[in-house]
Every structure is written in structure tokens, then in C-alpha cells.
């Protein structure tokens, strides 16, 4: 039997969530020890005696047994979860208590509570995302650091800081709390950031990035299982993630180089994800409030529905960008809007938009701003300006893949230009 690639990562998140219910959020390290013990047990047995039929259930049982040992040893020495209190004192109540914590529904609820707890508003967003990845997704500090281009030591510090804040809160977030709605906003924001980091992030390690998108998708679907969280806005966020994730296989071309939307091979887009995304987008249309997630998902849906760049309804794309820009102004949104305008009204019009972006100084370090200018210059025939733009962009490239992509673009306009 082959091993699911994400087995240990996923089970780590589930076991920690289950154990937090009993140990209390201040004993996260103890829960992590139990996870390690369960994993060690698996390493002792599986290689020689075979991977069990249901490895997840096996690990859960191993963790349950280890947790019982720990509780018998620690129940007098430590303060565990306050709500559990005296149930720990008796052998009669101890085992059923642990079994309940490991029940499928309880684990799901505890994972949700953990997700809400990680998005504690006193923590900066990048700490929230690091906590979600570490605790719920089982990513190590090193992996998270490389995805976010941060040093490992700095990431360890960031996670430790988050865990201290979590510990201070004593219990996990109560899903019936009055603060639920604003906290739900923060949760969506963190998942959106997580997904974007995977999709557009600067990390050069592409496999990690696809995994970030996968985890964001998994968590948003978990969030939708909670009726109070399954609002139109959450549905729109889920739709947007599906529709973008569908394009992930097209982001690298057959030579392994970055391919922008306009040059992607659409036949490798994931039809199933597109269908699910469109279904979610339909369901998200029930509310009265139009969120940025709705608009971004709608734009992605226009692209997903178009068989080619030429057959794209650019008019629709531009007007959706207009509304998105009005709702949440950002130079990156304006940049994408300008590219759509160029598709609709030609490169000159697009260049005027690009040069007039509000807050464009914030794009000063973003390689795809000069690259977009260069593309449009090339399209209208000014190769010298195009070359200059690509050179600036290369200087700003954040990783080898971006640099190679931009160098290819520069070379292509040198080649095309040599005959002129």
C-alpha cells in the first residue's frame, strides 16, 4: 500500500486539534509530543509489518493511547483544560473523554475553533497565517520560512510568539461567541492570504506553493461545513480559490517556465475545479452584499469560461475590475485592470492606464509592473521601450523562475527587434 503524501501533515493537525480540547491550548507542546510519539510508533511497526489499511485511523488510535498515558501521568502535575476538570480524576471518565475528543465531529469542530483562535486580531496577519500552517496544516517552521522567504530563525520566533498569545487565551475561540462575525472576516482574510501566497508568492520552490493553495482550499471547505460560517462571502472566497487553483497546472509551460494567463495552455486547466468553482459562485449570489471575493471570483469565472484569450469577454472583465477597484482600491488590482483594458481597447489605451495608476509608487519593487508596460510597448511596436521595461523588471525579479521568464521575454523582443 502506498503512503498518502500528506498523511503525517494532515494527521498532525487533526491530533493536535483533538488534544487541545483536553490538554488546553496552553499545552500545545504536550499535544505535539503526543503526535511525535504516535508517529514514532508507526515507524517502529509499519516498515516491517506493513502499512495498516487505514493509516489515519491507526495514527489516531496510537495518539489516543499515548494521550491516555500522558493524562494518567500529568493530570495531577499540570493544569489541563479548565472545562475538563474533574473528568480527568477518574479512570471511568478518562477514557470516554479521550474517545470523545477523537470523534470525527469533535475533531472538525476543534479544527475550526483552532482556525478562529489562530486569527486572533491582536496578532499581525503574517503571524496568523504562520500559525494556521504550523498547527492546522502540520508545516514545519523551515517549510513556512521558505514559502514566505523569511529566515528560519525569524519564522520560529514568529510561530513562538503566536503560540504564546494562543496560550494566554486559555481556551480556544468559542464558535458561539459574539465576536464570531468579525473573527470570521479575519479567518477569510488569512485563508485568502495563504492561497495568494501559494498562487503568486515569491518563493522559488513551486511544489511548496501548490501545497499552500491546496491547504487554503481544504481549510475553506472545512469552514463551509460550519453553517454560521457558510455565508455568501465565504462561498465566494471558496469559488475564487477553486477557479484560480484550476489554472495552476497552466502556470508553468511544457518547458517548466512561468506562463502568464494570456499565454497559458487552457487545455490543462482543471475542469472539475472549474465546475466546482462555478457551482460555489452560484451559491454565493444569495446575499445582498457584494464583496471583493465575489468580484475576483467573477473575473476568474469569465476567464474559466473562455476557450481562448481572443474569445474572452474583456468588456465584462474590465467592468468587474472597475467595481473591484471602487470597492477595494489597490495598485495591483489597477495593474490587472489596465492589462484587461489593453485587451479590450488596444495597447495605447492600456499604457495610459498603466502610467496613471493611483499609488503606482507602491509597485516600484514589483517586477510585473515594468514587465506589463514592456509587453504593451512591444505590442505597439516600440521595441526599445519594451527592452528597457524588461531590463528593469529583470532587476526586480524575486526568484530564478521570474528571472528566466523575463529574460526570455527580453530576448524575444531583441530577436524581433533585430530585423527592424
Amino acid at each position: 500500500m502506498s503512503l498518502d503524501e500528506l498523511l503525517f501533515r494532515r494527521e498532525s493537525g487533526r491530533i493536535v486539534a483533538a488534544l487541545t480540547r483536553i490538554f488546553g491550548v496552553h499545552n500545545l507542546a504536550l499535544a505535539e509530543d503526543v503526535v511525535q510519539d504516535a508517529f514514532c510508533r508507526a515507524l517502529e511497526l509499519w516498515p516491517a509489518h506493513g502499512v495498516p489499511e487505514n493509516p489515519s485511523a491507526w495514527l489516531m488510535t496510537a495518539a489516543r493511547n499515548r494521550a491516555l498515558d500522558v493524562l494518567r501521568r500529568e493530570r495531577t502535575a499540570r493544569t489541563l483544560a479548565p472545562a475538563i476538570g474533574r473528568l480527568l480524576d477518574s479512570e471511568w471518565t478518562l477514557a470516554p473523554l479521550v474517545d470523545e475528543a477523537f470523534g470525527a465531529h469533535t475533531i472538525r469542530d476543534e479544527q475550526l475553533r483552532m482556525m478562529f483562535s489562530c486569527c486572533e486580531p491582536r496578532l499581525p496577519e503574517e503571524v496568523q497565517v504562520a500559525l494556521v500552517l504550523n498547527i492546522l496544516c502540520g508545516f514545519g517552521a523551515g517549510e513556512i520560512a521558505s514559502a514566505f522567504l523569511v529566515g528560519r530563525a525569524a519564522m520560529e520566533k514568529r510561530i513562538a510568539r503566536g503560540k504564546r498569545t494562543l496560550a494566554a487565551s486559555q481556551t480556544l475561540f468559542d464558535l458561539g461567541d459574539a465576536e464570531f462575525a468579525p473573527r470570521l472576516d479575519a479567518v477569510r482574510g488569512a485563508l485568502y492570504l495563504l492561497f495568494n501566497e501559494g498562487y503568486h508568492g515569491a518563493s522559488a520552490r513551486s511544489p511548496v506553493r501548490a501545497e499552500l493553495c491546496g491547504e487554503a482550499l481544504r481549510l475553506v471547505m472545512l469552514l463551509l461545513e460550519l453553517p454560521a460560517a457558510a455565508t455568501p462571502e465565504t462561498l465566494a472566497l471558496a469559488a475564487l480559490m477553486h477557479l484560480h487553483a484550476a489554472r495552476l497546472p497552466g502556470r508553468l509551460d511544457s518547458a517548466g517556465e512561468l506562463a502568464p494567463l494570456l499565454r497559458q495552455d487552457r487545455s490543462c486547466w482543471d475542469a472539475r475545479l472549474i465546475a466546482d468553482g462555478l457551482g460555489l459562485l452560484d451559491r454565493s449570489a444569495s446575499g445582498s452584499r457584494l464583496s471583493a471575493y465575489h468580484l475576483e471570483a467573477a473575473i476568474a469565472a469569465v476567464h474559466a469560461a473562455a476557450p481562448s484569450v481572443e474569445e474572452t469577454d474583456w468588456q465584462d472583465v474590465v467592468s468587474l475590475y472597475d467595481r473591484l477597484l471602487a470597492l477595494s482600491p489597490s495598485p495591483v488590482v489597477a495593474l490587472n485592470r489596465a492589462i484587461a483594458v489593453a485587451q479590450l481597447d488596444g495597447p495605447e489605451r492600456g499604457l495610459i492606464e498603466l502610467h496613471g495608476i493611483d499609488g503606482r509608487e507602491r509597485l516600484a519593487a514589483y517586477p510585473f509592473y515594468p514587465a506589463a508596460i514592456a509587453e504593451l510597448e512591444l505590442r505597439r511596436g516600440d521595441r526599445a521601450a519594451a527592452r528597457e521595461g524588461f531590463r528593469v523588471a529583470i532587476g526586480l525579479a524575486r526568484n530564478a523562475a521570474e528571472r528566466r521568464f523575463l529574460e526570455l521575454r527580453l530576448r524575444s523582443c531583441v530577436r524581433e527587434g533585430s530585423g527592424a
Partner: protein, 118 residues
């Protein structure tokens, strides 16, 4: 074909480090599964062996003195064993060099199982 026993020696820290993070656990497990399956596929496994707990007792000397395992200080506890079939000690040793325990601080002791013949 002769029989050999592989005695896996390691220390508790190294064992835990092999499963320290989910990513590491995934890698370690995959390496071990691949190694054992490789041996099995080529007919080298005689007995899959058993894991040994890292705790225990030692009975020593004329006084029959019983102590909790020598384990606390030990740097190379036997964590488990496998009985393999190989042409000779050279082949058995060569096969052992693929063991993932060597990626940590562990070692594999390769011992011929002595013949019962007089």
C-alpha cells in the same frame, strides 16, 4: 544463502528527530518503507522481526541486582531487529548500508546467525 540478523541501534533523541516534524516523519517513513520493500522484493527477508520498547530491566551479577535499563545513558540501544538472507557477510553488510537509520545517528549491527551444526 546464510542468515544474518540486523540489530538496529540508535538513541531516543535520534529516533524522535526522525519523526520530529510531519515533513520529516513523511520522509523517514517513506525511506524505511522503500528500504524494507526493496529487501523483501529481492527475497532477503527471512523474518520481519519485532520492535523493542526503549524501556526495560537489567539483571546483573551474582547478587541478581535488578536495575532499570542501562538505557538512560546509552547512546546505542537496540531498537529492533530483522533476520535477512544473504550470500555472505559482505552482501549482508552491503545491503545494510541502505538502511535509513544511518541518515540519523543510528547504526546497523550485522551478525551472522551461527550454524547449529556441531
Amino acid at each position: 544463502m546464510s542468515e544474518f540478523i540486523y540489530l538496529y541501534r540508535t538513541n531516543p533523541e535520534s529516533r524522535r528527530a526522525a519523526m520530529g516534524t510531519p515533513e520529516q516523519a513523511q520522509k523517514s517513513m517513506q525511506a524505511w518503507l522503500a528500504w524494507m520493500r526493496g529487501l523483501e522484493a529481492k527475497g532477503h527477508i527471512k523474518d520481519n522481526g519485532q520492535p523493542l520498547d526503549m524501556t526495560g530491566k537489567v539483571v546483573r551479577g551474582k547478587q541478581r541486582q535488578v536495575t532499570d535499563g542501562p538505557f538512560v545513558e546509552a547512546k546505542d540501544l537496540i531498537a529492533g531487529f530483522t533476520i535477512v538472507l544473504a550470500k555472505d557477510i559482505e552482501e549482508a553488510t552491503a545491503l545494510a548500508s541502505g538502511c535509513p537509520i544511518l541518515d540519523g545517528e543510528g547504526s546497523v549491527e550485522v551478525r551472522p546467525i551461527a550454524s547449529m551444526a556441531p
